[in-house]
């Protein structure tokens, strides 16, 4: 796809092709015709068990058509000191066989006129004479002609870098990244309008800062803070209520801290790029979650560069796997890959982190400090008010810190219906490694604190923990903290009932009493609701069926290991019967027929601007978005689902009618909804079953719709367009459409009408949520503090399940990551942390099989409420309750409530001493 030019640079974004087409089809096209196709299993299965080139790190220049034969290698040198003035470097220690051909520094970027994109604002390289603003900040990029020179150099670097530092300055002071206050005061009854809510009044931020840089949360009457004063006044009233000495109310006031952790995706970040100076063309190969963003960021970086450093074209190619649990969404790494190529023109240059470099430079999960206050009416067991103050460490660059702060704050009341809520949050800069997106995205931290607090409140009342949750559970139609209801199913009560009836819970007292000498046993429960989607999510997809009934699907979603290719195939099959013969992902180069254009920012555009822009039938609020926020099933498959529906309704169904000999005047011709598929056979009561191959042949013969390509946009609701197809107005949850008749080319159809979600939906925290509850039983040895998870159960709801095995696998993987977060993983801040460049696995503990109840973890997935309930995001929610459930089980076993993570055997041993 050719995108709108950025700074005069034409951008192309495409999937990665191999030099040999046959190899590409065998390895990257999924499942790939002519290769073993399992009757069950992932569509990418063969490629992954045969060592096919699927990952960005697998590619060298010789794999790519038209590229130079040889690959050069780059080394990104990062600082391990952020309290002294950077004084440059000395390369002599590298020796003559390990000298770089090119060295790139801050001075070079300034010389050529390179610009840091706003999202990565700051110095891309620390200039000589400045104190680095964070540990891990790049200082230089060394480019080596040969692998041998590179390899020799990196071995030298393992014995210490060659960077020099001067006077001590202390850490660089940088303003907060952002601060918000979310306050809601409900009306007198659940149906009454809110007295105050962010949805009604807009989001507010404090206008004043202390000299330390911390926000002043009091409702001070400052000129720009008028709207803040109103919300803050309600907020302070809630806090006053919580501080009041009311014997009828149980009040708890607790601190909770969570640690920084690494996403620890197994493939370190990597890229390959080649700048051809003759053609002024930059080619780049990456594996990221946000292909569009990466390409646009590179274009901005070089958009105003001097001659020789500003490509006319950027052709970005993306490897099949881009996922990293959020850690490969909007990272600055691609910028350095591009710079490596631009500063070594004519050479293909590979930049790849090793693991210590990934720890030093990759984005981390935010560490949180939280104070939470809860008030509970003792008589009813109902939560009357909740207040919290969050401080999250964003590290050296802003990245997603503001977004994480907002999502964390608006998720801070979990699955509960609380009439008075006041949450402040501030994301601060530090000299630590940059924090960004990671699975759980802030709510892991805040909901862990909440679920531990809720457990303590239940014990203090006293009330059964599940009964306490049940009394306060958010009901369908109930409002979230921002004042809007969820627009999807809310099944809190069912989840709680499942937990309540489970043997782990029912038999907890018996098991506790059965503890072996020297051991203690405890059971914990927790429940979480996790948003999915970002409020500006896009889906691009196309479906085609040929005259033999073979199906091809292309989508723009990125494979994160979550089986998106399989999900696309399965969702399309709901409408067109067959499982696709070909599925490709991370595609944005095959949707030219839609002729999309965009303008403005989907998050900040005004209603008037959106209304005006929408008059252009090619305009959409955004074209493509990152694969993140658990949107794979819900968003990633949406365009393909709608495309498949159109093929059925305007291609396969008319063909089936012809085969059955049913005339258009026959009432049965209007009963398409009553037909259904059994495998690749179309069934209609009273009529002969029809094979898909015959229907497809007929659809082609009569020039029906045999291909559809669509774009969808969600701002907590789908854009809804109306398209005239074959003389019929067809409403669908898409805003752009092209169709193909028979074997013709795709032709764009102008929408007859469109309704984009209102722009004030941007005030919604989230409207999409999935729920998960977890029970764990732990056994702890007194002498050692060793903890064993004896049994566990997670129950979740996620609407229509597209690939049950994938959902189950995500739940199992989420459980493992939750165990790691609760019990194992931690990165100290600052000089002892990953920014020192010395961290690796072994020191950083990730859950292994022996840490998990491999044969004692039960996952239950609730059936959808209705057969047509859409799929919901679930990849994050399955991780969250695991963490507080473990903490609550530890309390049950030890009597000690831990208020920080991780809880190590040493801590448990001390608690039991």
């Amino acid at each position: 796809m050719k995108l709108a030019a950025v700074s005069g640079i034409t951008l192309g974004v495409s999937r990665l092709a191999l030099a040999e087409t046959s190899a590409f089809l065998a390895h990257e096209t999924l499942p790939g015709r002519g290769v073993f196709k399992p009757t069950v299993g992932r569509v990418d299965g063969v490629a992954k068990v045969t060592g096919a080139k699927l990952y960005a790190s697998d590619f060298r220049a010789s794999d790519l058509p038209g590229w130079p034969a040889n690959t050069s290698h780059a080394l990104l040198v990062r600082v391990a000191d952020a309290t002294h003035v950077y004084a440059g470097f000395d390369l002599t220690r590298l020796g003559k066989n390990a000298q770089p051909s090119v060295v790139v520094t801050a001075e070079d970027l300034a010389r050529i006129g390179a610009r840091a994109p706003e999202f990565y604002a700051g110095d891309l390289f620390c200039p000589v004479g400045k104190t680095p603003s964070y540990l891990g900040q790049p200082a230089a990029l060394l480019i080596f002609e040969t692998f041998d020179a590179f390899d020799r150099a990196r071995l030298v670097f393992r014995d210490g870098d060659f960077l020099k530092f001067g006077a001590e300055t202390g850490p660089v002071a940088v303003p907060n990244y952002g601060a918000f206050r979310f306050t809601r005061v409900a009306g007198a009854t659940p149906d009454a309008p809110d007295i105050y809510s962010p949805l009604q009044e807009g989001w507010i931020s404090p206008g004043l800062l202390e000299s330390s840089g911390r926000p002043i949360w009091k409702p001070l009457p400052v000129a720009k803070g008028g709207e803040y004063v109103k919300g803050a006044t309600y907020g302070e009233a809630i806090r006053a209520q919580l501080a009041g000495d009311n014997p009828a109310v149980l009040t708890l006031d607790r601190q909770f801290e969570t640690q920084s952790v690494d996403p620890m995706f197994l493939e370190p970040e990597c890229g390959l790029a080649w700048y051809d100076p003759d053609a002024a063309n930059l080619e780049i190969v990456l594996g990221v979650q946000s292909p569009f963003e990466a390409t646009e960021a590179i274009a901005f970086l070089l958009g105003e560069a001097q001659a020789g450093f500003k490509p006319q074209n950027i052709d970005a190619q993306f490897a099949y796997i881009g996922g990293g649990f959020g850690g490969r969404d909007h990272t600055p790494f691609p910028l350095y890959v591009a710079l490596a190529a631009m500063f070594y023109p004519g050479h293909a240059v590979r930049l790849a982190h090793d693991r210590p470099q990934q720890f030093q430079g990759g984005v981390k999960r935010h560490a949180f400090k939280m104070r939470s206050q809860i008030g509970v009416d003792r008589a009813s067991g109902k939560i009357t008010a909740f207040a919290a103050d969050h401080v999250l460490d964003g590290g050296g660059q802003m990245n997603y810190s503001i977004s994480v702060a907002v999502v964390a704050a608006t998720g801070a009341i979990g699955v509960y219906d609380i009439p008075k809520v006041d949450v402040t949050t501030v994301a601060v800069h530090s000299r630590g490694v940059t924090a960004g997106s990671m699975r759980g995205y802030g709510t892991l931290q805040t909901m862990t604190a909440l679920e531990v607090l809720v457990d303590e409140a239940a014990a203090a009342l006293p009330l059964d923990p599940i009964e306490f949750r049940r009394r306060n559970a958010l009901r369908p139609g109930g409002r979230t903290m921002t004042g809007n209801p969820y627009s999807v199913s809310v099944r809190t009560k069912e989840i709680l009932d499942k937990l309540d009836k489970h043997p782990i819970w029912q038999k907890r007292a018996d098991e506790k009493a059965r503890a072996k000498p020297g051991f203690v046993i405890g059971v914990g429960v927790a429940c979480a609701a996790k948003d999915y989607g970002t409020g500006a999510d896009c889906s691009l997809g196309s479906v085609e069926i040929d005259a033999e009934g073979r199906i091809s699907i292309h989508g723009d979603a990125v494979e994160m290991g979550n089986g998106i290719g399989t999900a696309l195939a399965n969702r399309a099959a709901l409408s067109i019967g067959g499982i696709a013969d070909e599925v490709t992902v991370a595609q944005v180069d095959v949707f030219d027929a839609l002729e999309l254009m965009t303008s403005g920012d989907a998050y900040t555009i005004t209603q008037a601007a959106q209304d005006e822009a929408a008059k252009n039938p090619r305009w959409v609020p955004a074209i493509s978005s990152a694969t993140s926020a658990s949107i794979g099933a819900h968003v990633g498959t949406q365009a393909v689902a709608e495309a498949a529906r159109i093929i059925f309704r305007f291609g396969l169904w008319p063909a089936a009618l012809s085969l059955w000999g049913i005339a258009s005047t026959d009432p049965r011709s209007k009963q398409a909804d009553e037909a259904y598929w059994q495998g690749e056979t179309l069934i209609m009561t009273g009529l002969s079953p029809l094979p898909l191959s015959a229907i497809a042949a007929k659809a082609h013969a009569q020039k029906g719709v045999t291909g559809a390509m669509a774009h969808a946009f969600s701002r907590w609701a789908w854009s809804q367009g109306v398209f005239n197809i074959a003389g019929e107005d067809w409403p669908a949850d898409i805003d752009a459409l092209a169709v193909r008749h028979g074997g013709d080319r795709f032709v764009r159809l102008d929408r007859k009408a469109v309704a984009f979600p209102p722009t004030d939906y941007n005030r919604i925290g989230t409207a999409f949520s999935s729920l998960c509850g977890t029970l764990v039983r732990v056994e702890i040895e007194r002498a050692t503090g060793a903890l064993r998870i004896a049994k566990a159960y997670s129950v979740l709801e996620c609407g229509k399940v597209l690939v049950p095995e994938v959902v189950l696998g995500q739940a199992q993987g989420g459980f493992a990551m939750g165990v790691g977060y609760a019990l194992l993983e931690t990165l100290p801040p600052f000089e002892d942390g990953p920014g020192n460049g010395q961290w690796n696995l072994g020191q950083y503990l990730v859950a292994r099989g022996s840490d998990l109840p491999l044969h004692d973890l039960e996952i239950e997935i609730l059936s959808p409420l209705a057969s047509n309930e859409p799929p919901k995001g679930m990849a994050e929610v399955v991780m969250i309750p695991v963490v507080p459930a473990l903490l609550n089980a530890i309390f049950d076993a030890t009597g000690r409530r831990f208020q920080s993570l991780p809880v190590t055997p040493e801590m448990l041993k001390r608690a039991l001493a």
């Binding site: 299993g41 992932r42 063969v46 390899d151 370190p268 693991r355 189950l808």
Partner: protein, 173 residues
């Protein structure tokens, strides 16, 4: 420098001069272009880089390649993920991994596949008691890190392959 010659997936490679501090992982990935063997940590902690080493006595084991020099593999016979399937046919373990949805991103799969294959071959030589099977699988796979799956489906895939052919892999089967 060492003149390295070895057999990879049944094919002779070398002799070729390699630096003594070149890792086997880099020899496979950078010199030979065999990128099926992954690089994960460089510290022999994740084992995504593990390959099968076939010994003269007919037994096999896995070894990490990220911390071992290429020179240390001189004269050895190894197998990598690229060498499991032959004549377009997947092995029973490869099929089981696919059909069990054992992996997600798949970056750790080469290591698990090699380890699982070694276990199957070991059990074929020395069958185990059924009662010990889960422990044996857990012990065999525990060194391998997977960040996506929670390991359960890998274990189930290996176990199901064994249980599907008890006469071959289990005592008294």
């Amino acid at each position: 420098m060492t003149k390295l010659a070895l057999t990879i997936n049944g094919r002779a490679q070398g002799p070729v001069d390699v630096r003594d501090d070149l890792t086997m992982n880099d020899f496979l990935r950078e010199v030979l272009g065999m990128t099926g063997t992954k690089f994960g940590c460089g510290a022999a902690q994740c084992l995504s880089c593990a390959v099968i080493v076939d010994l003269p006595d007919g037994t096999s084991h896995t070894e990490p390649t990220c911390v071992a020099s290429a020179a240390s593999f001189d004269g050895k016979k190894i197998r990598t993920i690229e060498g499991h399937s032959g004549d377009g046919q997947l092995t029973v373990l490869q099929k089981a991994f696919i059909e069990h949805f054992a992996f997600q991103c798949g970056y750790c799969t080469p290591g698990f596949l090699n380890e699982g294959q070694v276990l199957l071959e070991q059990l074929a030589r020395t069958p185990a008691a059924r009662a010990d099977l889960e422990t044996i699988i857990a012990d065999a796979l525990d060194g391998h890190l997977c960040r996506c799956t929670g390991y359960i489906k890998y274990h189930e895939a290996v176990r199901d392959v064994i249980l599907a052919d008890p006469h071959r892999f289990l005592k008294g089967g």
